[in-house]
Amino acid sequence: MNSQLLSLAIWVPILGAVPVFWIGSERRTLVRWLSLAVAVAGFLVTLPLYTGFDATLSGMQFVEQAPWITRFNVQYLLGVDGISMPFILLNSLITVLVVLAGWEVIEDKQAQYMGAFLVMSGLMNGIFCALDGVLFYVFFEASLIPMYIIIGAWGGPNRVYAAFKFFLYTLLGSLLMLVALIWLFLESGGSFNILDWHQLRIGMAPQILIFIAFLVSFAVKVPMWPVHTWLPDAHVEAPTGGSVVLAAIALKLGAYGFVRFSLPIVPDASHHLAPLIISLSLIAVIYIGFVALVQTDMKKLIAYSSISHMGFVTLGFFIFNQIGVEGALVQMISHGFVSAAMFLCVGVMYDRMHSRMIADYGGVVNTMPKFAALFVFFSMANSGLPATSGFVGEFMVILGAIKFNFWVGFAAATTLILGAAYTLWMVKRVVFGDVGNAHVAELKDIGSRELLVLGLLAVCVLAMGLYPFPFTEVMHASVDNLLKHVAVSKL
């Protein structure tokens, strides 16, 4: 089956950004509506990916193949399986929300802001469906450029530092990955096809080296403890839209990399080094959970909570059982919705108060009841309350972890307490209680645009929490196949 759907998912937003840049920031209304139209079009073209997806197949679907760089046998090879397909939809949906979220808030260079997000969206779709090593790498690195600009140009007071840190940290990892990709190309006799690499037999010593090269790259992106320090800076300084895209999509790229590269290409090294990854993941879950507890800045708190949640994802991948891996994938999607919503909520308050400090708030429920209801709901999801999407993923990973080793599962389960502690404590201090100060007393409740954005996310979170079957159904066959593949030694 040959279709152009994946190409559309990549190139509709990127090419759509060109007229947005062209119009320029003077004609604001036109820019906004055009950006929204492009983002919605970008989302609509991804819908057939879900409706046309055959959940019984474990292989790649919607494959597109064309020669790109014949000199090195690099191909424009796209395809999705049950693991990557949901992220393309998630990414395209988040882009629509980000455009809406920047509707009135961004006053400076709005055309460039919108355009940067549209480009970013296309590039990230490219990462999720590239099946050629170079193509993947090219999208992976190119996506740094718009994010660097977004953080640096529209960020907070310390934005330059955060932008540089973000860029250089991520580049550090990806450059090592490039060396590994080239090594694999030479070892496989001249192929950059990732699926060919899945079948490649590699000795243990090179497997370990490749695993480490990939690990550095993806661990920075996830981010895993101890290379997570760029994330709080980037999140705090980035504009709301930037934080949303970072948390909802960009972090998933690292985790996705583990599933697409590390596990299937070097399964023996993955098994061998799994204890290391599991330890790092548990440190992220527990230690970073405690770090989140003491934050005074809401964005920073959510940033640390993201790291902690992503620890769950890496944990789920490296316990090598079906429920763990599926749980991790569900957790990734759920975290995409919940973290996006949390950052949007902070954004809503920040737009009104120009402060992210918990201490500056108190009693928001009195002046913003609609908003408070949604904020509390998302907070519950963030702390993993049953019937929200946050619960499903965490529960599955904990189940998987207990199957793997009771104590690992036990340690992971502490997140249910920690997550609830730092999230709910923040909610208590920000939302409830008496009106904290005069500024809070003057707050206006959310308008229909904000309500639409947050409401959409709330529906997603609730739907996924109550009935996760449509999500797990599509990934089932692919995860099954992945685990079978990983179980076979390549030595």
Binding site: R71, V138, R159, V179
Partner: protein
């Protein structure tokens, strides 16, 4: 005596002969119309170069033809390199028109020196003998010394020219000395003859290696590799920006040709020896170039150090042709074509970067500090985007040509077993990314210091846009240029 004279086949050298003849025309035209119609000399220079390109294309049959008693060669590689050289020089001339006119430097000698320097490069590119190589090199270098000092009132320019001249003369001496040693050992000045002698193994190894060291030093000087890089920052900084642009573009192609002809074509038998020397210099250049560039506040100096590091990456490809003494045609072509591709990509980026400096300069004002790029996005979003493309391309970030150049070179290095070197190289390119990012930061995150409108002419704007878009387009579709480089090399080895 005359009876023995055989008329050499002149066709392979037709572009050089045409350029030489036209240079006289330019000279006369400048003499007659120079005072009133300065544009005529410029116009004629460009026409000359276009004519050269046409002649090169017409006589390019893909065959390797030797002429002038095996001292001059015309092959596909030389045709390709010459075409890129013409293009680079033409672009430089268009970029520099207004800048030179504003400063009263658009005199006839500028165009003549540019033409003679170009002729020197063409001779270097086509050299099939040590003598021809030296001849071309001196013609190019002497013209460049003159160009650096073209602004006679500028003390910095004169100083730079002096430095360039003294160090350049030293390097030429080293090169000549190395050539004479190799001549002594092999009994031949012809590149083919030297290769033959090495192949037969008659030559004395110690003398050869001794000569090789000097030869490599001479080549490294022209490429600007550490530790022979001292002249680069001062000359780049001191010369008028258009001349810096000239030195930073086309001569790199000639220097690449020199390295290839001398080291690969002539001394391939000693590859194991010169590879080690190049390896050390490549790593040092990448390291020092990238580290020193961070400390610069002057964009011309920053680009100078960046040039040093870029040539280091290029040499990384050049030194990956032979694996463990084993000669394998595929690996060799792979490595040398990656170096060629890198050079071509670098020339394109370098022209664009200096073009940006020219864009921001105006009569009486040199925009050569990094500060001048502050807030460019507010002043002109389009050109800020062009600079963004060029900077990210130089940093080796996709989808731009610079990434694929680095990619090809790294692939060659890893294939040759230099994986550790490749890791070091990418780590330094991480450090290098910092100063390219800083330029982007100045343009996009800061508010303008200089808020004067950009007054550059339409020709510069158009060319700069094309240049920036080419850097992006050849990054999205890198295949064509890569294939041309590979074919040119394969058919000429």
């Amino acid at each position: 005596m005359l009876n023995n004279f055989v008329m050499p086949d002149l066709y392979p050298a037709a572009p050089e002969i045409f350029l030489l003849l036209m240079s006289f025309v330019v000279l006369f035209v400048d003499l007659i119309f120079g005072a009133t119609r300065r544009w005529m000399a410029a116009m004629l220079t460009v026409i000359t170069l276009i004519g050269c390109a046409a002649i090169t294309l017409v006589y390019s049959d893909g065959q390797t033809t030797l002429t002038f008693s095996n001292m001059f060669v015309d092959d596909l590689l030389s045709d390709f390199l010459k075409l890129v050289t013409y293009l680079a020089v033409i672009m430089m001339l268009v970029y520099s028109r207004q800048y030179m006119a504003d400063r009263g430097l658009d005199k006839g000698e500028f165009y003549l020196l540019v033409l003679y320097a170009t002729l020197g490069m063409m001779v270097m590119i086509s050299a099939a003998s040590f003598l021809t190589m030296y001849l071309g090199l001196e013609l190019m270098s002497l013209s460049l010394y003159g160009l650096v000092a073209i602004d006679r009132d500028s003390t910095r320019g004169t100083e730079a020219a002096m430095k360039y001249f003294v160090l350049g003369a030293l390097a030429s001496g080293l090169l000549l000395y190395g050539m004479s040693m190799i001549y002594g050992a092999t009994g031949s000045l012809e590149i083919g003859g030297v290769a033959q002698a090495l192949y037969q193994g008659q030559a004395e190894k110690p003398v050869l290696v001794f000569g090789l060291v000097f030869l490599v030093a001479g080549v490294a000087f022209k490429l600007g590799l550490v530790p022979f890089h001292m002249w680069i920052p001062d000359v780049y900084h001191g010369a008028p920006t258009t001349v810096t642009m000239f030195i930073g573009s086309a001569p790199k192609l000639a220097a690449f040709a020199m390295a290839l002809r001398l080291l690969v074509y002539a001394l391939f038998g000693l590859a194991v020896d010169w590879q080690k020397m190049l390896l050390i210099m490549a790593v040092l250049s990448i390291g020092l170039g990238n580290l020193a560039a961070i400390a610069q506040t002057n964009i011309k100096r920053m680009l100078a150090y960046s040039a040093i590091s870029h040539m280091g990456y290029m040499v990384l490809g050049l030194m990956s042709g032979v694996v463990g003494g084993q000669i394998d045609a595929f690996t060799a072509v792979n490595a040398y074509s990656s170096a060629l591709y890198y050079t071509v990509a670098y020339v394109l980026m370098s022209l664009g970067a200096f073009g940006m400096v020219l864009l921001l300069s105006r009569a009486g004002y040199e925009a050569e500090n990094l500060e001048d790029f502050k807030g460019l996005n507010k002043r002109s979003p389009w050109f800020a985007a062009m600079m963004l493309i060029i900077m990210f391309s130089m940093a080796g970030i996709p989808f731009f040509i610079g990434f694929f150049a680095k990619f090809a070179v790294l692939l060659a290095a890893i294939k040759a077993g230099y994986t550790a070197v490749a890791v070091i190289a990418v780590m330094f390119s991480l450090i290098g990314a910092f100063y390219y990012l800083r330029v982007v930061k100045l343009m996009y995150f800061d508010t303008p210091v200089d808020s004067a409108p950009i007054t550059a002419g339409l020709d510069l704007r158009l060319l700069l846009s094309l240049n920036g878009l080419a850097v992006a387009a050849f990054g999205v579709f890198p295949d064509a240029v890569m294939m041309v480089c590979t074919t040119a090399l394969m058919r000429s080895l």
